[in-house]
Symmetry: C2
Subunit: 165 residues, 2 copies
């Protein structure tokens, strides 16, 4: 199973591609950050994000797209702008026929670290351990995308076990 995890934003959209093999540890396939040109109009920024997502999906054929689900924006205006980025990310998944899963930040922390109040540093350490990395994925936004992908890997494993057992 291959999962593309995305941490949306119009300035920086972090992503991580994680493989969950039939047996053995999770594997980090790729991670990075999409940074649309700061001076571009919003519509063009969204085009950059959408096109990069399409390219990632075409390259890795993920079984699922996992996206952070933030309802905690500081105000309506920043929520609106964030919604634009999430909109084109969900669209990229829908158009490619990839299942879309959404996770709240607390769920990501809880799944990866075991505590909904975990710090960024705690998440990075667990991401390193789970993926057997020598250093945390850089920059932070990429690490967030990886954590979301890991969350989906772990949650769907739990689900499968629950169904089987």
């Amino acid at each position: 199973m291959i999962v593309l995890g995305v941490d949306p934003g119009t300035v920086r959209t972090g992503y991580g591609v994680v493989e969950r093999p039939e047996a053995g540890p999770y594997r980090l396939v790729e991670c990075g950050v999409i940074r649309p040109p700061a001076a571009s109009a919003l519509a063009l920024k969204l085009d950059v994000i959408f096109t990069e997502l399409e390219t990632l999906i075409a390259r890795h054929h993920p079984d699922a797209l996992a996206v952070e689900n933030v309802f905690m924006a500081s105000n309506a205006r920043s929520a609106l702008v964030l919604g634009h980025a999430r909109g084109v990310i969900l669209l990229a998944g829908a158009r490619a026929g990839v299942a879309v899963a959404e996770y709240a930040p607390r769920e990501v922390k809880s799944a990866v670290v075991g505590a909904g109040s975990a710090t960024k540093v705690q998440i990075q350490r667990m991401v390193m351990r789970l993926l057997r990395l020598k250093s945390a994925p850089e920059p932070t936004d990429a690490a967030d995308g990886v954590a979301i992908a890991l969350t989906h890997c772990m949650r769907s494993r739990t689900f499968k076990r629950a169904v089987v057992g």
Copy 2:
């Protein structure tokens, strides 16, 4: 000049296509409402909105896409959801190479009626008069899309005159 005006929403997205000829009155080409299936997942609703916008752009080859710019959502959550719809609408414009213009609700009222505090009924009456219609475009969301398209027609005319004069 042909303008596609859009009033975004995940439940109902109203649109209107208005032609501004070189001479003579504005002309309503088409208007309607995009209603994604209520039971669908958000990603699929966004796909419906995006695909319909793509179809409208392919059919009418608008010179501009005019979108309502709402920063007045009642709370962060509704702003976020509205942002998703606006995101895929702006994306449809960007990908088709259509210029995107954004107007605040007050600008639309001010352009169409001449008062930023105009009521819905006042807007509908002026839309009917400007487009020489026997009745207001139905339903209301379609009329809102038409008003936004008209706003762009009128604003860009003012702009042109200002440049020439």
